[in-house]
């Protein structure tokens, strides 16, 4: 470029200044991409996080945000929820961060993302009590007045859960 246009000393300096300015803009926008507001769907709940990162390894979130995302908590032995602990190798935990897609892979979850929205499925190991021990999975769904009804609210009764739809 420089040779082709025969740019003199002054122009070269200008160019350099432009380059520095452009680099600064690029760095700022990269940082912005690294801290984009992200919506995470799990168990019919949407959690919006202000601070996340993405790279070739997928989606990273702050360890302290994990409980509100999916009920798991980072402990020395792994990510744990009640009695279930999923070991976390070093590649998925870095400082204050946990690689949520790396965790999902180990937990057997599927996921799909679109822009800054990520949708994660159930954690299969948490389904074992339904599949193997006949324990009905808990749900929490609003009634017509918006009051949340949980399956466990009617514990002690026989129940028929029946679905239908208007469509």
């Amino acid at each position: 470029m420089l040779a082709r246009y025969g740019i003199g000393d002054m122009e070269q300096r200008l160019n350099r200044r432009d380059w520095l300015a452009l680099t600064a803009i690029a760095a700022t926008s990269l940082r912005a991409a690294g801290t984009a507001k992200t919506t995470i769907l799990f168990d019919d709940r949407a959690t919006v996080l202000a601070t996340t990162k993405t790279d070739t390894a997928g989606l990273w979130i702050r360890k302290s945000d994990l409980p509100q995302v999916n009920g798991f908590e980072v402990k020395p032995q792994g990510a744990c929820r009640a009695e279930v602990c999923i070991p976390l190798p070093k590649t998925v935990r870095k400082g204050d961060w946990i690689n949520l897609t790396g965790f999902a892979k180990r937990a057997g979850q599927s996921w799909v993302s679109e822009g800054n929205t990520w949708s994660f499925t159930e954690v299969p190991i948490l389904r074992a009590s339904y599949l193997r021990s006949r324990v009905a999975p808990e749900f929490a769904v609003p009634d017509r007045k918006g009051r949340i009804v949980k399956l466990s609210d009617s514990q002690g009764k026989k129940r028929l859960i029946v679905t239908w739809a208007s469509w």
Binding site: W111, R134, P142, K158, R159, I161, V162, W164
Partner: protein, 200 residues
């Protein structure tokens, strides 16, 4: 059956919410628990693929009968050369029997039978779930193009799930009937699988 310590929980699998489902509850003069399940949470929890489907749960929270078609009336509906049959009378008689007799009912399934009927989600169904939930999210946040994209992905990944198809088609009501008929005509299996109230 109210005095028998029994509760019916109905869950409308309707992303359209009260606006879509409410008038149906009114018309039915529903006296049972009426849920508005915009997220299809109940279908996700029990891996349901059509409506209406029922699950029986005992006093301790254990599943007595896993999901199956849950009608209250016998009906046969002719659709072209094929037909749809519902077995509501046998189903409600079985339900009554269990509500009265509990675990002594012949319709309370054994562990072996339960294991034959309840399976983990295969990978394609997991992927489909992830997309369907994303579709609902985009629908609720008024991003219809992204919603359509992920609803379609869910249908491609899990074509046997009628809920995925019909919820999506409901947003284009003029075409919904035609799309339903097209898929129905292609389907080999009965629209509602034959009930197996007692093990073979």
């Amino acid at each position: 059956m109210k005095d028998l310590n029994f509760e019916i929980i109905a869950a409308a699998q309707d992303t359209g919410g009260e606006a879509a489902a409410g008038s149906w509850y009114d018309a039915a003069k529903a006296t049972y628990t009426t849920l508005i399940d915009k997220q299809h949470a109940v279908s996700s929890a029990f891996q349901l693929t059509n409506v209406p489907m029922g699950v029986w749960i005992d006093e301790k929270g254990l599943v007595v009968r896993p999901p199956e078609t849950a009608y209250t009336k016998n009906q046969t509906l002719k659709v072209g050369a094929k037909s749809i049959a519902t077995e509501g009378e046998a189903y409600t008689a079985a339900l009554r029997d269990w509500v009265e007799k509990g675990s002594a009912s012949i319709y309370a399934l054994s562990d072996d039978e339960y294991e034959k009927r309840v399976k983990p989600r295969p990978d394609n169904e997991m992927q489909a779930e992830a997309s369907f939930k994303l579709g609902i999210h985009f629908h609720e946040t008024a991003q219809p193009e992204l919603a359509a994209k992920h609803f379609q992905r869910a249908q491609q990944l899990h074509p046997d799930n009628w809920n995925y198809h019909r919820q999506d088609w409901s947003f284009t009501p003029t075409e919904a009937g035609k799309k339903w008929l097209e898929k129905f005509n292609k389907q080999q299996d009965p629209y509602y699988p034959k009930l197996e109230l007692q093990p073979k």
